[in-house]
């Protein structure tokens, strides 16, 4: 029997978190939600009474997300700790979503599980792509660091140790095993979250697959993205929606 933990990253004050929880509760059992809070410690104390964890990681709260190479390592470690608590051992999968990445279908968990099975994958990611050797600005920025290639070489179980993947960071779906293993991996170098999560999971031997048809309304920019358009398209989720 599968059970999906919806791990939601948010940083807003309590009133907005309440709205977010109301939205998610229409699509998930509230017991399957966990708020990873990236806001202030003071605001964290005022949050509604739901499963929540404060992320005390300076690499989450960087000024420039890309240039300062923002990390979600603290979220993964906190999520792993939660999964390992005796009352949470029955969570078999984790769906990670940023606060502005919203579910649109009530059977989201079932669809994710089916897609994962169809793809024989360990992880599903939006806009997943290979970037090594290309003019991708993230690749060029990271590969300038001599420790970048050495890090993958050191941890990889793959025959090709220079593969670099990038995915959209706003949401992804993980098996419990893959999530826990990536959380356990020491972050010995600074790598931007969109490159780090996909590449580390790949080099640890996990199979990642692209969401494909579910990428249309998951974008970096809100231009042309509305909940209505996403629903019409048949999207399971939508990003970014800042106000609900």
């Amino acid at each position: 029997m599968s059970r999906v933990l919806n791990l939601i990253l948010a940083h807003q004050p309590a009133a907005q978190i309440q709205k977010l929880l109301r939205w998610w509760s229409a699509y998930s059992d509230p017991a399957d939600l966990l708020i990873a809070y990236g806001g202030t410690a003071a605001n964290f104390q005022t949050l509604p009474d739901v499963p929540r964890v404060f992320i005390d990681d300076p690499r989450l709260r960087v000024r420039d997300l890309q240039r300062d190479k923002q990390s979600y390592g603290g979220i993964w470690r906190a999520g792993a700790q939660y999964l390992l608590e005796p009352s949470h051992l029955d969570f078999t999968h984790v769906y990670f979503a940023e606060y502005d990445h919203l579910p649109l279908v009530p059977d989201l968990a079932a669809r994710l599980l089916q897609r994962l099975q169809d793809e024989r994958a360990d992880i599903l990611a939006h806009h997943l792509r290979r970037i090594e050797g290309t003019n991708n600005p993230f690749f060029l920025y990271h590969v300038a660091d001599p420790e970048f290639a050495a890090f993958w070489e050191g941890i990889s179980v793959r025959p090709e140790k220079d593969t670099v993947l990038q995915m959209h960071g706003s949401a992804s779906f993980w098996t419990r095993e893959a999530f826990l293993r990536v959380a356990r991996q020491p972050e010995e170098i600074k790598v931007y979250v969109e490159v780090y999560l996909a590449t580390v999971a790949h080099h640890l031997g996990y199979r990642l697959r692209n969401f494909g048809d579910q990428n249309e309304y998951v974008r970096h920019s809100a231009e042309g993205v509305t909940i209505e358009l996403a629903r019409q398209h048949g999207s399971w989720t939508v990003h970014p929606v800042k106000l609900i």
Binding site: A121, L128, T134, N135, R158, G205, Y206, R207, L208, N210
Partner: protein, 87 residues
């Protein structure tokens, strides 16, 4: 102030580059995969444009030609690696 300048200048610069740029075709499929302005400069090629994930590759030649070759671009296929058991 510099941020405002950047916000104003960036679209102008990108517009100019787009005007002077040419489409980039995948050397394998012929499909248009981007648009850029390429300029040789001091033994390198400067690439102006925002088309991402382009992989430079010399184009295969059906004839043996010693004095000319074509440098083009392609893209990686979508990741489809197997689950690799850990050793």
């Amino acid at each position: 102030m510099s941020k405002i300048k950047m916000k104003l200048l960036r679209p102008l610069a990108l517009g100019l580059i787009n005007l002077l740029a040419s489409d980039i075709r995948d050397v394998r499929t012929g499909e248009i995969i981007g648009r850029a302005l390429l300029l040789p400069w001091r033994g390198r090629i400067l690439f102006f444009g925002t088309s991402p994930d382009l992989l430079p590759i010399f184009r295969p030649q059906t004839q043996m030609v010693q004095w000319r070759s074509t440098l083009g671009f392609t893209k990686h296929p979508s990741p489809d690696f197997p689950h690799e058991p850990r050793s």
